[in-house]
Amino acid sequence: MTLRVLLMYLMAGLTASCGLAPAAATGRPSAAMPVGSCHRMSQPEELYHVSDVAPPVSCTEPHQTETYLVTRLSGALATEPDRPSPDRLRAACDYRPIRPYLGARRKDAQWGIEIQAKFPTRAEWAAGNRTLRCDLLVPTLHTDLGPQLTAPLRGIMRHPQSVLVRRCRRETVDVVCALPHDQEWVEPPIYLAHDDSTPSQMKHLCQANARAYTGGTLDGLAVTVEPVDTRQAHCWLRHDDDAVTTTTLRGGSR
């Protein structure tokens, strides 16, 4: 009996020495994260982990992702007793609600946005929780800080902060418009019905799209045509003096 007691104390001691209680807090249940909530994940391990139960933060504070969709998993995946691997779960996020969530209209093109799915924890899954949280992740502005932003993404296309999700270009490198750039993507690209289109036709169409994009005249601006093939071309807007900016030229109906 004494030996048993001794062994018990030894085991308890070993437990204490081998592993302290984890410092991780319980956090907030996955199912309680609403659409529009923002999530701070200042460590890459948090961002790329399959689940996240940290309490949401204000969207005007530094954060990494924003929830655009909360749904329930269904089908064969949902019937599995153990949480499936992230590779198989990620495909469940629907991309179609993204543009409405961003407030994008026909002339707005989002660029560089990624979907980051978060799933219930193993314990939540075992308890029957099948909530799937789909977050948006914006491009990285400062490499030391990662994909961090301080503005809400909901309806962002109607605000100047939309530079965070618009496509621009610095010389030949595509960047997000919030970074210094000298050209801005004009949505939509042009498509011609016939193969015998001339450069002037392409230029004319691009200028028309650019005017619609800026919502006014093209004073002080130049349009660059970038043919993709004989029937298709991309249009880029730039300042006449090739000024480098971090703002957007988008105006129009915004």
């Binding site: 030996l3 070993l14 592993g19 984890p22 410092a23 200042s42 139960v53 490499t143 030391d144």
Partner: protein
């Protein structure tokens, strides 16, 4: 009494297996004197004079020897603590990059690495860990005695003026001091003259200082606890090898449990530790011949059970997800790696033919277990167990040979050369490795060319140790070296097997760090064992005696 009435010079023990554990060279009993008088027929006056002179001389020499040993130990330990401090910090700190282990360990303290977001932690060493709140699964329970060292590092972080919650440079300072203690203990416990002790302990200190191991002391890995634990275990086994007393048995048990708790694979050290604990009968029960070999080892047996229980607890307490991932890694990374007969082998692991074919097809695309359909994942979980993997290797010698080959190659690489050594502000290219002290790394070129020599080194060390242990007329302190030389290859083989079975081929060089360390220790240990084997036996003074003359009582001869 008759068993102790033979007079023997200090190096000649009557019975290596039993009385050998009594250090006759340091004890003198009236019975021995009486017997000596009877057997030599020396008159009482001469006997009394010789005896009192002998006792005085022995006492004086013992005091001087102890003081000399202590001074040697302290100086050697201080010197190596200094060497370690200098090699880790002089000219800027060096360490080992992180592969993700750091978060698992340090999140326990509510800390996160203070590196820039886009930094590659395997290329550079980022020593500062800052306070951070972790939630849910991002910080799961991680069991390792390394947490104890990190807790100490956290305590000294402020007093050392280091930034953040835990700075790994504090861990480095602590580790260098502990290396100094280990080297000092070895210098104290090893036999021979001061320069032999200091030299042999320094050879082991040089292993710690080698570029293959030193960097781990400034890293967020579990290797510091394992390497320091093994060092203390070597010292404890040296002490235990002189004779089994309760303090020595307890000390060995505590050090072993700390070392076993460092990593998953270090649990295998329970085997050699148990051998060591029950090798020698308990000293106070040595003369209880009637009790039989088992009863006389009761304290060692009880403590062996404690060690086994601790190792079992350690393995059972590991997060199941990590152990499962490790098993999957062994199957996909080792058994199915480059395996043309994968389907057949999977059937031998317990899968039915269609499942085995499906898994082998997936494995052929280098995909992991995450790519398996749920049915196969469930089947995988059901069929693949550690016991099943052991049985597979036992019944498939070709796979076992292949795995051993990978293991030997892993030891041959010696250092984790794919992880950087420098902080980013050192201005060196990503992944740059330091080679401030690389004596063993340089010598390891031999094993890189021919890893089979590693086996020879292990066998030679074991054989030399066995030869020392079997030899009579060897002092207990020297015989302890022989026992250690036998135990270290056993520790190596146990660890080696555990890594191959529990963790597999992936990242094998890092997983075999303790094996590489012990293999490097084999070199000085083998040298020392051979020296003792061939030069350690002093001439028997009785052979130089003139029959019937009291010259044999001359202290210098008896001594």
């Amino acid at each position: 009494m008759t068993s102790r009435t033979r007079i023997s010079p200090p190096d000649t023990t009557a019975d290596d297996h039993e009385l050998g554990e009594h250090d006759h060279s340091r004890e003198w009993s009236p019975e021995q004197d009486q017997d000596f008088g009877r057997s030599r027929c020396v008159d009482d006056h001469e006997l009394g004079t010789a005896r009192s002179g002998l006792i005085r001389l022995r006492s004086h020499r013992a005091r001087r020897g102890r003081r000399s040993a202590l001074i040697t130990a302290i100086l050697t330990g201080l010197a190596w603590a200094g060497v370690m401090l200098a090699r880790l910090f002089a000219g800027g700190p060096v360490g080992v990059g992180d592969q993700g282990d750091g978060r698992r360990l340090l999140c326990t303290f509510g800390a996160a690495n203070g590196r820039p977001w886009n930094a590659d932690t395997s290329d550079y060493v980022f020593t500062a860990w800052v306070p951070h709140a972790w939630f849910g699964e991002t910080c799961e329970l991680y069991r390792s005695t390394q947490l104890g060292l990190l807790w100490l590092a956290k305590q000294v972080n402020g007093p050392l003026g280091l930034p953040g919650l835990v700075d790994l440079r504090g861990l480095g300072v602590l580790s260098t001091l502990l290396v100094g203690v280990i080297v000092g203990l070895l210098a104290w416990l090893l036999p021979g003259r001061w320069w032999v002790r200091a030299g042999a302990a320094s050879a082991i200190g040089l292993v710690y200082a080698d570029a293959a191991f030193a960097g781990f002391f400034v890293s967020p890995h579990t290797e510091p606890a394992a390497l320091l634990g093994v060092g203390f275990l070597l010292a404890a086994l040296l002490l235990l090898g002189r004779g089994a007393t309760l303090p020595r048995l307890l000390l060995t048990t505590i050090v072993a449990i700390f070392t076993i708790g460092a990593q998953v694979q270090t649990a295998a050290l329970a085997v050699p530790v148990c051998v060591a604990l029950i090798w020698l009968p308990y000293r106070r029960l040595v003369r209880w011949r009637w009790a039989g070999p088992v009863l006389r080892r009761i304290p060692g047996i009880v403590l062996s059970l404690v060690v086994i229980a601790a190792a079992s607890f350690h393995l059972a307490a590991q997060p199941e997800t990590q152990m499962e991932a490790a098993r999957h890694g062994v199957v996909f990374g080792s058994i199915l790696y480059g395996n043309t007969g994968a389907a057949k082998d999977l059937q031998d692991l317990g899968f039915d033919a269609p499942s085995a074919a499906a898994i082998s097809e997936i494995a052929a695309t280098n995909a992991g277990v995450g790519s398996l359909p749920p049915v196969l994942v469930a089947m995988f979980k059901e069929n693949v167990t550690t016991a099943g993997i052991v049985a597979f290797y036992l019944t498939h010698p070709a796979h076992a040979v292949r795995a051993v080959g990978w293991g030997l190659e892993g030891i041959g690489r010696f250092s984790v050369d794919y992880l950087g050594s420098y902080p980013p502000d050192a201005g060196l290219p990503p992944g740059a490795r330091e080679h401030r002290i690389a004596a063993y790394s340089w010598f390891w070129g031999t094993f890189r060319v021919a890893p089979a020599f590693l086996l020879l080194l292990w066998v030679a060390t074991f054989a030399a140790g066995r030869s020392v242990v079997r030899r009579r007329r060897v002092k207990p302190a020297r015989k302890a070296v022989g026992r250690l030389a036998m135990l270290v290859p056993l520790m190596i083989v146990a660890q080696f097997g555990a890594v191959l079975i529990l963790l597999g081929r992936a990242d094998i060089t890092r997983h075999l760090t303790v094996v590489s360390f012990l293999t490097a220790v084999c070199i000085p240990l083998l040298t020392l064992a051979l020296c003792i084997r061939f030069r350690g036996v002093r001439p028997n003074p009785r052979r130089r005696d003139a029959p019937g003359m009291p010259n044999s009582c001359k202290p210098e001869l008896v001594r």
